[in-house]
Symmetry: C2
Subunit: 180 residues, 2 copies
């Protein structure tokens, strides 16, 4: 049923092992498929740990995880690395209001600039600065190192199979979501 979702605030966690936890669960709730449960719990636990790891890396670079996401979105948009706030908000999955605040902070830190679009003065253009791009690159390098270490126990064949299965799960969850 999914572990606790968000990035933890405390480091030394001391959780029970996955199998332990599932065993306890079965005592309290009989019709539980341990195989399913294992996948689901591992997924969310893994994700939590990874977010903590990313958080450390970005913190070491002097930016927050949230800021890194904005940098990412801008880079992905390609040169000249410009996007509107609502476009960004949609991609990052948060509200326009939250985006406004993030841009406030990032502008103050010199990672992006914000200016009105002179062609259409309703719009605002957020643009990556050189410093922002450089921070992104640093974070990117750290992230790829970490990711490679994370997957080091898996063979190329396994990595492919894993990617494939996860993609199928992703398709399925999007399908379920679409149906409501």
């Amino acid at each position: 049923m999914g572990d606790t979702p968000d990035t933890a605030g405390i480091d030394g966690v001391s959780e029970p092992s996955l199998d332990e936890q599932i065993a306890v669960y079965q005592r309290e709730f009989q019709d539980l498929d341990p195989q399913v449960e294992k996948v689901v719990s591992a997924l969310s636990r893994l994700n939590r740990r990874m977010n903590v790891a990313y958080g450390r890396q970005t913190a070491a670079l002097g930016i927050s995880n949230a800021e890194w996401e904005v940098l990412k979105a801008l880079v992905i948009s390609g040169a000249p690395y410009r996007m509107g706030p609502s476009e960004l908000a949609k991609q990052l999955g948060l509200t326009p209001a939250a985006m406004t605040h993030r841009i406030d902070r990032m502008t103050a830190e010199g990672l992006v600039t914000r200016e009105r679009d002179e062609n259409n003065r309703v719009r605002v253009i957020v643009e990556l600065t050189a410093e922002g791009r450089s921070k992104w690159l640093d974070a990117m390098r750290a992230a790829t190192v970490f990711e490679e270490e994370l997957l080091q126990d898996l063979s190329a064949g396994e990595r492919g199979a894993l990617g494939d299965m996860l993609t199928r799960l992703l398709d399925r969850v999007e399908d379920l979501q679409a149906r409501g």
Copy 2:
């Protein structure tokens, strides 16, 4: 490098497909292993979607995702379903302060009770109420249905392999974390 982490606030997301996104990334950052990237991005995107799904289910039952986690922890602890706030906080990966507030809310809603331990008056005991347990059961039923649907495209063999690989990743990330 992991997608945007937290549970989105907006539903209709319209993200680029995974492969699309990775292709764009490779343009901007050459030494990127697409296989690794696919696994990592799928993991975090999947998790985000799952959290949204869980959130809907628990919301339908009149509790929040956060509250469900507390109920879970208490049930896992086994009868008589009692734990201290700091014990709970550690398991859920949040600060004691946050735990205090959650317990405040849940006490007001009748999901748990809070009382001082008369044997050791420094401690506080949080105990699941009958209503709390019933809510947990409802949420549990909904969750298992969803999880079974999520994995319906995977054969039993695939589920096992997936669980196994995820567990290995989890071990690895814990190992990396321990090293700092």
